[in-house]
Amino acid sequence: MNVFDIIGPVMIGPSSSHTAGAVRLGRVVNKLIDDRKLKRVEITLSGSFAQTYKGHGTDRALMAGIMGYKSYSPEIRDALKIADKRGIEYSFNKENIKGAHPNTARIHYYLEDGSEGVMQGASIGGGNILVKQINGMDVDFNGENNTILVMHEDKPGVIASVTNMMHWEHAELNISNFRLSRQEKGGEAIMTIEIDNAPPEELVEEIRGIEHVLNAILIRRV
C-alpha cells in the first residue's frame, strides 16, 4: 500500500467498490477483446452488485471499462449511450452466483468475428478487484502486480517455451506468482503469470509468437 491508495484513486463517483472497481473489472474484458470488434455483452450481477447496481452506476461503469475507459473518465456517466452509438448490444441480469464474493460480475462477450469469452470477477473494496475465472478456467489475480495471461493449447513444453523466452530475452523479469488452469487434458489452458517488474512493450507480441499459444494479454499494475 502507498499514500495514493489512501489519497486516491481519482475516480468518477459514487462508490469505489461499485463504480471504480466495476470499471476495472470491465477493463480486464477490454484487454481480453483487444482491438477486435465487440458485438454484444451479457452481464450477470450477483450479490450487492445485483441489488444496487443502478444507483451506483455499476452498469455504466462496467460498460465504460469494457469499452476501454478508465475509472476517472467522465464518459462513464454516458457509457450506455456511447455503447448504443457504437452499436454494442448489452443486457444485465441478476443471478445469485453461489459461493461468489458479494460484488461479483460475470461478463460474457460476443465478437463480430464469431468468437466469444467469459470473465468472472469481484470488486473487493476501495476500487480493488479479484479476477476469478476466464472462459471457465480459474485464474485468481488482483491486478496489483503486472499480470500476463497466456491462453494456449494444453501441450507439453508450452510453459517451458514461455518462461524460457521470458528469461532469455528479458533476464531482469522475475515471476512472483504462476498458475496454470485448463478446461480438460489437451484442451484450452491458461497461464496466469504475475511479475515484479514493469514488462517491456514487446513481451506480449513475443509470447503470442510462440507455438500453441492462442493469445496473450498484459494487465498492467494499477
Binding site: M1, N2, V3, V10, M11, G13, P14, S16, G126
Partner: protein, 293 residues
C-alpha cells in the same frame, strides 16, 4: 523504511529528525516507490486540483444525485453563508461545510472526485484543505505537503483497522477521513507531530461507533451530510490539539478500539442497508421509490 503500522512510529521518527510528518512520508514514499520526490509531489498536486474542481462541480444549483434522493446541498449552504454572513458557525467553518457537501454531492452525481480514503468520505479532506487555501490564504505547497501527512494516517488506520464501511462501519470511512484531515490541519497550523497524533486520536474517538446505514444502499443518505460531521470533528480536534489539550488515549489505541468496535457491529450496520436509517419507515419508502418496487 517506514512501516505505517503505528502513528507513534511517524511521530517518533519525525521528532527525532526534527522534520514534519509530511516530509518524512514524502522521502520514504519516494524511496519505496522508486520515483523522485518531485514526481510524487506533483501527483499529489494534481489530486488537490481535482479536489478544487469537485468543490466547483458539486456547488452548482442543479446538482442532483444519481437516484435524485439528494442534490443541491452545497449550493444552498453556500448561499446561506453568503446571505447570513457566515451563519452560526462563522465564515470559515460554514464555507468549509458547503465545500464538504459539494464534494460529497459531486460524488453522488457521478462527478470526478479523489477518494480520501474512500468515495463515501471524499468531502472531508477537501472541505478542510481547500478552505484554508482559498479563504485563509495558506501556502499551496504547505497544503499539498499536508496531504502526505493525511495519507500516512490513513495508511496506519488501514493497516491496524479498516477504511471500508463494509468492514468497520462509517467510523472506518468518515472517522478515518476526519483523523487524516485533523492531522493535516494541525501540521498546517504549525503544530508538532505529537499534536498531529493527538488530533488524530480525538477525531477517531469522536466518531467511534458510527454505523454505515445507507438508504437504498446508495452513497447519498446519510453519507453526504456525514461528511460534514467528519469535517467539523476534524477542525475541532485540530483546534483542541493546538490549544495544548492532549489526547488521553493514544492514537494507536484509539485505532485499535475502532477496529474492535467495528468487529462488534452487526452486519446489518455495515453497508448492507439492513439497519439504522436505511430501514426506518421513510428509509424503506425512499428505497422503494428509487427501485420502483
Amino acid at each position: 523504511m517506514i512501516k505505517y503500522e503505528s502513528i507513534e512510529e511517524l511521530v517518533t521518527e519525525a521528532e527525532k529528525r526534527n522534520i514534519k510528518i509530511s516530509q518524512l512520508v514524502l522521502e520514504d514514499q519516494a524511496k519505496t516507490m522508486e520515483v523522485s520526490e518531485l514526481e510524487l509531489y506533483e501527483k499529489m498536486e494534481l489530486s488537490f486540483e481535482v479536489m478544487q474542481q469537485s468543490v466547483k462541480d458539486g456547488m452548482k444549483k442543479d446538482q442532483k444525485s444519481m437516484s435524485g434522493l439528494t442534490g443541491g446541498e452545497g449550493y444552498l449552504m453556500n448561499q446561506y453563508v453568503t446571505d447570513k454572513d457566515g451563519g452560526l458557525c462563522g465564515n470559515l467553518m460554514s464555507k468549509a461545510i458547503a465545500r464538504a457537501l459539494s464534494v460529497a454531492g459531486c460524488n453522488a452525481s457521478m462527478g470526478k472526485i479523489v477518494a480520501a480514503p474512500t468515495a463515501g468520505s471524499c468531502g472531508i479532506l477537501p472541505g478542510c484543505l481547500v478552505s484554508l487555501y482559498e479563504d485563509r490564504g495558506f501556502d499551496k505547497r504547505a497544503i499539498i505537503m499536508s496531504m502526505f501527512t493525511a495519507g500516512a494516517v490513513g495508511m496506519v488506520v488501514a493497516a491496524r483497522s479498516s477504511i471500508a464501511g463494509a468492514q468497520g462501519g462509517c467510523q472506518a470511512e468518515c472517522g478515518s477521513a476526519a483523523a487524516m484531515a485533523a492531522a493535516a490541519l494541525v501540521e498546517l497550523m504549525g503544530g508538532t507531530p505529537s499534536q498531529c497524533a493527538d488530533a488524530c486520536a480525538m477525531a477517531i474517538s469522536n466518531q467511534m461507533g458510527l454505523v454505515c446505514d445507507p438508504v437504498a444502499g446508495l452513497v447519498e443518505i446519510p453519507c453526504v451530510k456525514r461528511n460534514v460531521s467528519g469535517l467539523v470533528i476534524a477542525y475541532s480536534s485540530a483546534d483542541m490539539a493546538l490549544a495544548g489539550i492532549g489526547a488521553k488515549i493514544p492514537a494507536d489505541e484509539c485505532i485499535d478500539a475502532m477496529r474492535e468496535v467495528g468487529d462488534a457491529l452487526p452486519a446489518s450496520l455495515k453497508e448492507t442497508a439492513g439497519g439504522g436509517l436505511a430501514t426506518t419507515p421513510t428509509g424503506r419508502k425512499l428505497r422503494d421509490k428509487v427501485f420502483g418496487n
